[in-house]
Symmetry: C2
Subunit: 378 residues, 2 copies
């Protein structure tokens, strides 16, 4: 392999793939990045056997070839280089890297030992604006179970509906986040539904972070493949491949209440201040936060008490409709939901102290988001 | 105790003192901040028994009193509050804190259990512009020994000379940093010399970070007291008190070469890139980095090799005077010195592969800084 590319493109591309490497000490090649020439471009790839990330960048290829080298070392090395042309040349199991008067030889592992990352995307089921997809993932993925013992709920359930609506839902059985959106979505194949591992979507979210154009999404052969052009890479595109989770996603729709007795409109900033102040006193073990809605006062109070630390009580104004309520929530789940709503005004919706409550964004940017929290029995 | 102050002042003051609390589980009061009224102001104090930080802020005091409360909880609580007036009232061992509709009760420990922080500053030996003092501390303190087994060299040797020059020096016996400065210094008492613990100066550096006016410095009763007004606090001033280290500081002046055979002027940015690129291959155990100065080429090369990772060789141009040199340094010590110089151009000065080398800032901002590194014997 012998080729030249720009330091900026190389650094960006290594940055995209390097975070997705595996940490399996028994298979050291997983902590490497694959470098290979393919159709006149440089291909970079990493995998942890569950998730594969491939990135192509424009390069002047003089000689075909491939090698894998340690991801961290490569990233640290190329990101420190001056903004210039970088030449890469493989000689045996060594990558020779030159940029100006900097000459490195990095020891690698033959590409033949690198696991095959399957699948080039065929017909995408749907094409989604990158920014909308990233926002939707950010609004739901944190609610997926962290524990992998139940792989279904450690995933995000993604449904492509007949009319082109996309629904993404995640729950760890204590809270549930669902986002529905249709704007910025183009149906290009069959409607479908699948569970995508939360970790894969978090990684996609990170890569999309710096902005992407359209992302096409294909479900094929038990996998999901996301493919998009990265605007920060000249002539570069990225593919993220993950297995989908086998199994049946819980029928979460039945958890979402059809109506609410009490609705309170709250200012996001006031809500957040009161919640954080009170959270400091929520017992470390139980995390109980007491909420009281008072229609007469048009206000909501947040309180928590810790035998060791003391207590807090914060009251904020709210437009209350439908009567008083008292309920206990885990303060962390409230904070998560509040951040995910992303609007200046938020509706808190309740039925009783034993029924799930909801946070709903209100206003223009509030398209189709629902965050449900189970109460703590007091 | 009953008083009112602004949320901004309170947050800033708690932020100044809260980081200096102790972590002694057998003496829980050390992880608290003392709140007390004093001469119509609110006094906040923290100590780890080696270092004490006291901060005064303007307050409307209605009733005298005092209490200690957990530093972390207080800081988190007040920094989350809206920008408003905060009222503090002590009732028994509880601090009642009110800001708008936020009401907290924080459990405390009586002020009588809090260790006495000694000393109000009497006659300062010297008054120094805050910014210059902060810069000088930053240039030397990192070179002090981290290991406290030899407390003298875990400290910074500070000398106030007859002519008002301030000299600060630190060494861990592998490298030495010395800063001398006279601009911005006013001698207001007797010249003196003392060893100040590195940790105390690091803490002072952090507090001065956001800008301070003049800092007066007094050595009295085996202690050093720094006193200054904090411009971000309305009517507030800060005192940092530390014991000085007993013992004799090594005669470091004899380590600094009187002259150098070879001098090389290097561009800071090129130097840094070459050094970082090469450092990635320095052996984790030995950290060897090979430097070669070539007068004929007017260049310096940096190289390192690791049996496991590979190798790097970076060459940068330099104005070489006085002949070729080859020497081996620990790459970390070179990087530290390079950052501390703080100028766009830096002189690398060498005598032989067995003699200490020096990094000297050059140009306008280069007043009196010397960084000496011992070579590694190859």
């Amino acid at each position: 392999m012998k080729l030249t590319c720009t330091q900026e493109n190389l650094t960006r591309a290594v940055g995209i793939v390097a975070r997705s490497v595996g940490k399996d000490a028994s298979l050291p090649v997983l902590s490497n990045v694959l470098l290979a020439t393919e159709r006149g471009r440089l291909k970079l790839a990493s995998t942890n056997l569950e998730l594969g990330v491939t990135c192509f960048v424009g390069a002047r290829v003089e000689k075909e070839g491939s090698l894998t080298v340690p991801a961290r070392l490569l990233l640290d090395y190329v990101s420190n280089l001056p903004s210039n042309s970088v030449s890469l040349e493989v000689s045996g199991d060594t990558l020779n890297l030159e940029c100006g008067e900097n000459h490195a030889s990095i020891k690698g592992i033959p590409a033949s030992e690198f696991p095959l990352i399957p699948g080039t995307q065929e017909n995408p089921n749907v094409v989604i604006e990158g920014e909308r997809l990233a926002q939707a993932i950010g609004q739901v993925v944190f609610a997926a179970a962290k524990d992998e013992s139940r792989p279904e709920i450690a995933g995000v359930y993604v449904q492509i509906m007949d009319d082109g609506e996309v629904r993404m839902a995640a729950t760890d059985s204590y809270r549930l986040a669902e986002r529905r959106f249709k704007n910025g979505v183009r149906l290009t194949g069959s409607p479908t539904a699948a569970i995508i591992p939360g970790k894969a979507l978090s990684e996609l979210h990170r890569i999309l972070g710096s902005g992407a154009g359209e992302v096409s999404m294909a479900f094929q052969d038990g996998q999901v493949i996301f493919s998009f052009e990265d605007p920060t890479l000249t002539g570069g595109n990225v593919e993220v491949v993950s297995r989908v989770v086998e199994g049946r996603y819980p029928d979460y729709a039945q958890i979402i209440p059809e109506s609410y007795l009490t609705k309170v409109k709250l200012n996001q900033k006031e809500f957040s201040t009161a919640l954080k102040a009170t959270s400091l006193f929520s017992r470390a073990d139980a995390s109980d936060l007491h909420l009281a809605v008072q229609e007469k006062d048009q206000a909501v109070s947040f309180s928590a008490e810790s035998g060791q630390l003391g207590k807090n009580d914060s009251v904020i104004p709210g437009e209350v409709e439908g009567g008083d309520q008292k309920i206990v929530f885990n303060h962390r789940y409230l904070l998560d939901g509040l951040s995910a709503c992303g609007t200046d005004e938020i509706s808190l919706c309740l039925n009783s102290d034993a029924a799930p409550g909801a946070l709903l964004p209100t206003g223009d940017a509030s398209e189709g988001y629902t965050y449900i929290i189970m109460p703590i029995k007091s």
